[in-house]
């Protein structure tokens, strides 16, 4: 996103978009995956590239040829539906998840009903009676769109801050 903070996004819009991100987190943290899915447009591009360790100054360390997620609405729906079966063991018993969303910056997008949204995420998870708390963190670059008065995410790129993931799996959405 550009460096100077553009002022021309109204506080109301910003508030509504921020609410969208919080509502998303709430649905995910309360196992309302189907409701979450409704907050994504049908043409959602949901990506999560790998992050690598690279030598040099002023280099990019977001992998362009490897990913954890490269999803469409259809593939996300399959993942979500699975979580409602009786045998998705990774979430049954359900883990306790929390998506802390901070540093939200909103900017005008390429189309007049779209906005670019940058946010930071800190994800925490607790499982069963274990005492080791899992976490993941990084940045999300979204595009949100106003669809008949409802805000929805139409593009999301999740950038993790680790080269080696330390959660025992990545069953979570981010």
């Amino acid at each position: 996103m550009s460096n100077e903070v553009k002022a021309h996004v109204s506080l109301e819009v910003k508030d509504q978009i921020t609410n969208l991100l919080y509502q998303e987190a709430y649905f995910l943290d309360n196992r309302m995956y189907k409701e979450w899915l409704e907050l994504l447009t049908d043409d959602i591009k949901y990506k999560m590239p790998l992050r690598e360790t690279v030598e040099g100054v002023n280099i990019d360390n977001i992998s362009v040829d490897s990913a954890f997620y490269e999803e469409t609405k259809a593939s996300l729906r399959t993942r979500v539906n699975r979580l409602y079966t009786k045998s998705a063991w990774v979430e049954n018993p359900a883990t306790r998840q929390r998506h802390f969303i901070t540093n939200v910056v909103v900017e005008a997008g390429d189309h007049e009903d779209e906005y670019k949204v940058r946010s930071y995420f800190l994800y925490k998870r607790s499982r069963g009676s274990t005492t080791d708390l899992e976490e993941m963190f990084g940045q999300r670059n979204d595009v949100v769109r106003n669809v008949d008065g409802e805000w929805k995410v139409c593009s999301r790129t999740i950038i993790p801050d680790q080269a080696v993931i330390t959660t025992m799996n990545m069953s979570m959405f981010l």
């Binding site: 360790t53 490897s66 954890f68 079966t85 080696v164 993931i165 025992m168």
Partner: protein
Amino acid sequence: MIKRELDEKLIQQLKEKMDEGLLPQWVITDPDIYELEKEKVFSKTWQFLAHETELKEPGNYVTRWMVNDPILLVKDSKGEIKAYLNSCTHRGTQLCTADRGKKKTFSCPYHGWSYNLDGKLIGIVAGNKVYGEEMCKDKWGLRKVPRLESYQGMIFGCLDPEAESLEDYLGEMKWYFDMMLGRSDGGMEVIGLPQRWVAKANWKSTAENFAADPYHVQTTHRSTVEMGISPEDPLYAGYGHQVVMKNAHGINVITSKTGRSRTEFQGMPKEMWPMFQRNLSPEQADILERVTVFVGGVYPNLSFVSPVHGTEGHLHNYLNFRVWRPLGPDKVEVWCWFMIDKAAPEEYKADAYRGYLGSFGPTGTLEQDDTETWARIVEVSGASMMRDKELNYNNLSNYLMGFSHVKQDESFPGPGVAYPTTYCDALARRMHEHWLELLTVETSVKEETK
């Protein structure tokens, strides 16, 4: 300086129980066993490092690990691949911490010693001024991994200079590698970096789970049944053959009730089939035509799966290799590679990659449920009732499937001992027996440190 070894009594007990198809549970995450494994399993056997397509040009490098040994794998100026301990010979500093890249010289951030692609020490800051003749540069090049060999583009390293050759070590598995990796002109290629994450698991459990346990599919992955993706028949992953090979390698050739997959050649594009037939022997081609899933492993910690995903018309096949790098008795760093036929259409490759992400790796819906069962094994493995070495509590894992009544199928065309079902613990038993053989080999090292 602390002496660790299996005493005779425990060895006898383990042998006896294994002969009955049982494995005492205390060995899974025992910390002393783990120390022994690092020394007697992982310092003696061949371990997968990379695929040749990860190092395209001279100067390309990747950094890898053999358990705790940091490895620097480079393609030298002559195009040969070399493997070094990724550690400066001066004081041991890790030389390169990047995952991959391209360079001509590796220089150390501590005192600036630098090495070329041949591992030669080519630069010592102010060397001529500060070192005397006892400093013989040639003796201080990067330390080579004692053995480095490859087969079908798969590069393996071994820390034991005396080890048998990779080809001998792979033995019968070569025939299956030829089938999976050699079917296409130009072979296979790795896409991107391997995914890496740390699972709660013991490496023996993950290796067994992947290479030797199609039986778990019907329950661990039952969600696919609930979703109508997999058949209701609980035997569905059991049709086909489990092949047990020398050095505890093995493969499961899963077909279906009819003996054939619902699609030929794992749903690879029709135009590629003739190429497969040209590159393979009739027997290999026949298996490839009929198979649904290949899943197996090269002992100790390389596993692979080649499945079919998607719906008619949009079927995809790919090859997933993974290394179970032990980080402790109850921790495994999983390295997960996606491989596909170089000759496949680019769009097919992209679709297959997305199919892979949906099934395997940390975000794969199949693998997610595996991680839960792996964790549930190590999380209770500290129990006295499981750790008890006197077996007072019947703390034995059960490997009785197919123990007595499943007989070898002589008609199976591939090498190795083939059994006519993959719901069979023959391979798992072989893996654990081999593990015990390795653990109980007396090494000179052991002798001397006593």
